[in-house]
């Protein structure tokens, strides 16, 4: 079963919105980007989910993300 087979209402119904919004606050832009992509899919065509994501505080971190200047960087481990 691929993710395409799971209706977005079902994903929202199992409580995905809150952890995805939490993921938007992570340091990693990779995590933020993936969370934003998932929320975009969940909201698409579903008024209930659009409302739920806004109520969960999803808008403000996305607005911040629009102005983010730097991607993920880590210090390489010794011997890399």
């Amino acid at each position: 079963m691929t993710s395409d087979c799971i209706p977005h209402q079902a994903i929202a119904g199992i409580g995905a919105i809150t952890p995805l919004v939490r993921l938007l606050h992570e340091e990693s832009t990779k995590a933020q980007g993936k969370a934003a992509g998932a929320l975009a899919s969940i909201a698409m065509g579903s008024k209930d989910n659009q409302t739920a994501i806004a109520a969960a505080g999803g808008i403000a971190p996305l607005v911040s993300l629009l102005s983010r200047e730097h991607g993920d960087e880590v210090i390489a481990p010794d011997g890399f």
Binding site: A36, A40, Q50, V74
Partner: protein, 179 residues
């Protein structure tokens, strides 16, 4: 790893019959338990790319490594614009909420910079946020006109590109921008 030959039925019968036979693959080594996990990780690793070095090895500062393909910030901005587009489509309350959260200015800024795909998502988001919302239309148009009358040519050029993208995103923007 070549599969170990199956024990013959007779030899299995001599072992404890109530017990499930051990997994064949790698069963000779205790690490067989982890082979499946490793195989799964290997599948996921296909989606990752080799670290890209941002600094030369002889540099005295700690080596900084970007682990992800392309520009992570650019990709995240594109996803954020896409999400805001999705949130605001035919949703008056979210259209207003995104404007109140200060989302219009960075979306307008993205229209003139960044990759073509990011510009497209930003234009789509702004079109959705402005649709049937005169206040947001006015704010966006004002921002664009300010950019268009900026003292420096690069900014004016970006503004022109932004207007072009936005007008293309939705026909209703053409009317708002022409006013």
């Amino acid at each position: 790893m070549p599969a170990r030959p199956l024990p013959s039925p007779s030899s299995r019968a001599t072992t404890r019959p109530t017990r499930a036979p051990p997994p064949r693959l790698g069963a000779s080594h205790p690490s067989w338990r982890y082979s499946k996990v490793r195989a799964r990780l290997a599948n996921h690793a296909d989606g990752l790319c080799a670290p890209a070095l941002h600094a030369s090895a002889h540099h005295s500062a700690p080596l900084r490594v970007s682990w992800f393909e392309g520009d992570g910030a650019e990709s995240a901005k594109k996803a954020a614009a896409s999400a805001l587009w999705s949130f605001s489509a035919n949703h008056a309350q979210n259209q207003a909420a995104i404007a109140e959260a200060g989302g219009l200015a960075p979306l307008v800024a993205l229209l003139g910079v960044g990759g073509a795909e990011t510009q497209l998502q930003a234009a789509g988001a702004l079109a959705a946020i402005a649709l049937d919302n005169p206040q947001n239309q006015n704010t966006i148009a004002t921002m664009l006109v300010q950019l268009l009358t900026a003292p420096d040519t690069p900014t004016r050029t970006k503004a022109a590109r932004a207007i072009s993208n936005l007008a293309r995103a939705h026909t209703s923007n053409q009317e708002a921008l022409a006013k």
